[in-house]
């Protein structure tokens, strides 16, 4: 019933999804992160290790209710941007974005929506930006609630004895879901 109420109140939105028209849902995922999680320090991570994970963020957020009931996803993409200001050490890292249904027990147990490789070198700022498409992302973002997780996994085997440390800043996380009506 609650969803019917949403249907009623969001009526023009739904009506616009009729026929060949689309409802384009843009979600600024970055805005849902705690400001403290947007820019975080990592390390010092000792050299010679692999698979060291740093969980940057893990949050549950509420989105538009009812969208899943009345729309059918056509496509979805996630635009990603991040900056790694690496102070010391050398590492290869994986910048992973997880977005899944709030029903999931642990957001990090799901498959990542995006897995962006990052090469870190001493005293260098590495900027990464990419765009991924994902069915799982689409399914998640039309639900009432989702869990968002961001994890960086470091492989410091190339760093020798120098620990890896620096500051990671997420600059862009924007999802766009294109849906059609499904009434």
């Amino acid at each position: 019933m609650r969803r019917l109420a949403v249907v009623l109140l969001m009526l023009p939105v739904l009506a616009a999804g009729c026929g060949d028209r689309s409802l384009i849902l843009t979600v600024d995922v970055l805005s849902f992160l705690d400001p403290a999680d947007v820019s975080r320090s990592y390390g010092p991570i000792p050299g010679g290790l692999s698979g060291v994970s740093v969980d940057v963020a893990s949050e549950e957020v509420s989105l538009l209710p009812g969208i899943e009931d009345v729309t059918e996803v056509s496509s979805a993409k996630l635009e990603i941007g991040a900056s790694f200001d690496n102070a010391t050490g050398t590492a290869s890292a994986s910048f992973r974005i997880y977005i899944t249904s709030a029903d999931s027990a642990d957001v990090f147990s799901s498959a990542p929506i995006a897995d962006v490789p990052v090469s870190l070198t001493p005293g260098a700022v590495t900027n990464v930006s990419t765009e991924v498409t994902s069915d799982a992302l689409a399914e998640a973002l039309v639900q009432d609630k989702v869990k968002i997780g961001i994890r960086v996994t470091f492989d410091t085997t190339a760093s020798g004895i120098t620990p890896v440390q620096g500051i990671e800043t997420i600059t862009l996380l924007r999802a766009t879901v294109i849906t059609k009506k499904n009434l």
Binding site: M1, L23, S31
Partner: protein, 467 residues
């Protein structure tokens, strides 16, 4: 869920329909003259009961030619929601503006993608082209519809049985919700966005007995006595206008009254208010909004709760002629009321339980509904082959004004007019007609805004006139 979604969608979009009460005018002669009501236009006869007593003038009968149906047959909208060409607004336009007249121009179909932007503390809905159907003000629509009656008359008396339907609905968005949907203003925190709907619908059958007669007559100076009146067989070879008070410069007063018994078949009323209230953060870890909705309904229906209703009303009218000038005043549904025994229910949506709770407030509660009166005041002046006319029609929802003129050049008529519609917009009309003995063909072109976008459109109407 799928079907329910459709039901809710269509039901609520009815609230967005334009003032559909402003029905199409299928009499091309009248439409060409701006839709003005006069005593010699058969289509105006129901506007003033006294018109029944006035000798027939020009064009007493009309047969509409629904050109729009031919147009529809050649360009049928898609009704399958799964078809890419399906356009809900096109279907709604069809409902609100039945295709009986030929559409010469119409607004572009509502189309285009819409966008919703969501951030933790921001929600922007850009409806793009769909904004056109979001009403700028409250949407009122409805009217009192006197459907085809069955009856007969004898001399000055008549009886008839006529179904009556009264519908009124007012749908409104509060300024904040309107701004968010119409102007893509961002939704903000700690704010209620609401919509209201107030509607009434009732149906009855009127059993009516009436009288319409000439109450006063004085022939024009120099044209004989009052005994040389209309309806005498010896006048067959005379000029028909000699008996026509519109054109013989006589002074005459016609009056009519028709009380009626109203058998109420069904009554329904709803007053609803719903809204969403945003929290401190639009999209946080908890539900982004709180919903509230309250509706009170009242109903009675034949064979159902409350059964039939009973009431009385009347139609009154008078029309005065002097020196080929006509002044008419007709009031339909004077003091028309129906008494019902109604059931009243209150429906409250519980956000925490996620369901409606319905409670019966009253059973068989006495209630008197009203069928609102419609007043038509018309004036006309005939000058040889030329007629100029105007009227004011006041009803529950709006006051309309119609202006029109007609002149004949031999067998051909030229007409022009304008009218103020239920939205307060002026529309322009024009037309022509040709007469062949007792029958004529009339065409009219008129602008209108009878579409869901309430944008200007033009139509062609055609009808046969019986002279």
């Amino acid at each position: 869920m799928i079907r329910m979604g459709w039901l809710v969608l269509v039901a609520a979009l009815v609230g967005l329909l334009p003032a559909a009460a402003e029905a199409q005018m299928l009499n091309a002669r009248r439409l060409g003259m701006g839709g003005v009501a006069t005593s010699d236009n058969g289509a105006s006869r129901s506007a003033n009961v006294a018109f029944r007593a006035v000798p027939k003038g020009q064009g007493y009968g009309s047969i509409p030619l629904p050109l729009g149906l031919l147009q529809l047959a050649g360009d049928m909208p898609e009704f399958d929601p799964d078809d890419p060409d399906f356009n809900l607004f096109e279907v709604l336009d069809l409902v609100s503006n039945p295709p009986l007249t030929y559409s010469l121009s119409k607004p572009d179909d509502v189309s285009g993608d819409i966008s919703v932007f969501v951030a933790r503390d921001s929600l922007v809905v850009d409806l793009d082209d769909v904004r056109r159907v979001i009403p700028e003000e409250s949407m009122k629509h409805g009217g009192v519809y006197h459907l085809f009656g069955v009856g007969f008359g004898f001399k000055n008396l008549f009886v008839q049985m006529q179904p009556i339907v009264h519908v009124r609905n007012e749908f409104d968005l509060d300024p904040k919700l309107r701004g968010a949907l119409r102007d893509a203003e961002p939704f903000v925190s700690n704010t209620r966005y609401a919509l209201t709907d107030d509607g009434v619908a009732q149906a009855a059958v009127a059993f009516q007995a009436g009288i319409a007669l000439r109450a006063y007559h004085a022939p024009a100076a120099g044209t004989g006595t009052a005994d040389a009146e209309e309806g005498e067989d010896s006048d067959k070879d005379e000029d028909p206008s000699a008996k026509d008070p519109r054109r013989n410069r006589s002074t005459a007063l016609y009056v009519g009254a028709a009380p009626k018994y109203l058998l109420g078949l069904a009554y329904g009323q709803i007053g609803g208010d719903g809204g969403i209230t945003t929290g401190d953060t639009l999209f946080g870890s908890s539900d982004p909004v709180a919903f509230d909705m309250v509706a009170v309904t009242r109903h009675a229906a034949i064979g159902e709760d409350g059964g039939t209703g009973h009431g009385y009303g009347s139609d009154l009218g008078a029309v005065f002629f002097w020196n080929n000038f006509e002044l008419g005043v007709g009031v339909n549904d004077v003091a028309s009321e129906i008494h019902w025994e109604t059931t009243v229910r209150r429906h409250v949506y519980s956000d925490s339980l996620n369901e409606f709770a319905t409670s019966v407030v009253a059973v068989d509660e006495d209630f008197t509904s009203r069928i609102p009166p419609t007043t038509t005041i018309n004036v006309a002046k005939r000058m040889g082959p030329t007629t100029v006319a105007a009227d004011i029609v006041d009803n529950e929802l709006y006051t309309g004004v119609h202006l029109g003129a007609e002149t004949w050049v031999g067998m051909v008529a030229f007409r022009g007019g304008a009218y103020r519609d239920s939205n307060g917009s002026w529309q322009v009309t024009g037309g022509t007609g040709v007469r062949f003995g007792g029958i004529g063909l009339d065409l009219a072109v008129a602008s209108h805004r009878r579409n869901i976008e309430e944008s200007r459109a033009t139509e062609l109407s055609a009808s046969l006139t019986l002279y």
